[in-house]
Assembly symmetry: C2
DNA sequence: GGCAGGTGGTTCAAATTTGAATCACGTCTC
DNA sequence: GAGACGTGATTCAAATTTGAACCACCTGCC
């Protein structure tokens, strides 16, 4: 102990590539989404999760976990989306404290309008740049990383 | 055309894993760095780049490119680091508009103190979770992604 | 019933990030 | 050597993010 197990060259290169690819790609995505449909990436992800959920609704805390934000961050963004008419809040019958975020028709429409351009960016800059093996490595390897970090 | 080339299941899983792993890992890193040495991840990266540069200094714009931030974002953070005594500014002799950010001794000391814990987190939650092949896939695949996005 | 402790969301102030000006210079052309 | 134009960095206001209270409510336990 006391001696750090530093990263070797490959490991360092992998880590840096991971870090920079994430940052650069996110920047592109943010730019495209904002220009194309006026949504931030986070807002887009929120709409995606809701549209995939039963009855188009999720509890605030589940949603926060799914999109990896803080509770207060989600409260803010849901308020923004509500102002824009893309989402509405519904209080939970069983537990008065609980709040559901519900996708509205306008929200679904906005999502459907935004999705093609978004997927195109992800494909062009990430998926299509990788080999099939590399895609599988991301899915398996990073999938395990997510599982261990409690994000599954 | 008009028909979107959607992601298949594996591609979607890979993309989601990439996204969530980045977010979850960054959260851990941020937490560890803040607790352990009072630095944000961005500030840590700034110190790393400076310490690796000749004469421990880099132009503001180079630094902004290296850590993937906006110019104004970097201006803000360098000001913070300067207040903390970890970095200082030096105007460029050849071009009066240019500014170098220079690592101070205190900055280097802080970096050296922070590094072991940081590497440990990256290793524990990312590198050691992956197989050698998967590490290579990140390095090669995401390295290419970065190159094409103009981050190399 | 009534209270201790935990949970789900919100609120609030402070820190950070963003992007569009802006400022002060280099550079290039005629 | 005077503009026209591009660059490097900062400034500014607005938007977002963060984390620590906080509030209201559930749940167990006595």
């Amino acid at each position: 102990m006391g001696d750090t197990n530093w990263l070797n060259d490959d490991e360092m290169a992998a880590w840096q590539a991971f870090l920079m690819a994430g940052a650069l790609l996110d920047r592109r995505i943010e730019e495209q989404l904002k220009a194309d449909s006026g949504l931030s990436h986070l807002q887009y992800e929120v709409l995606v999760r809701l549209s995939a959920a039963p009855d188009d609704e999720l509890r605030m805390s589940e949603l926060a976990g799914a999109v990896i934000t803080t509770k207060s961050g989600l409260t803010y963004q849901i308020t923004q989306l509500e102002k824009a008419g893309l989402v509405r809040r519904r209080t939970c019958a069983a537990d008065v404290r609980g709040v559901y975020a519900v996708l509205t028709d306008a929200g679904r429409a906005r999502l459907e309008r935004a999705a093609p351009g978004h997927v195109e960016v992800v494909r062009a800059h990430l998926i299509d740049v990788l080999s099939e093996d590399q895609v599988r490595a991301l899915k398996d390897g990073l999938g395990e990383v997510v599982r261990r970090l409690g994000g599954g």
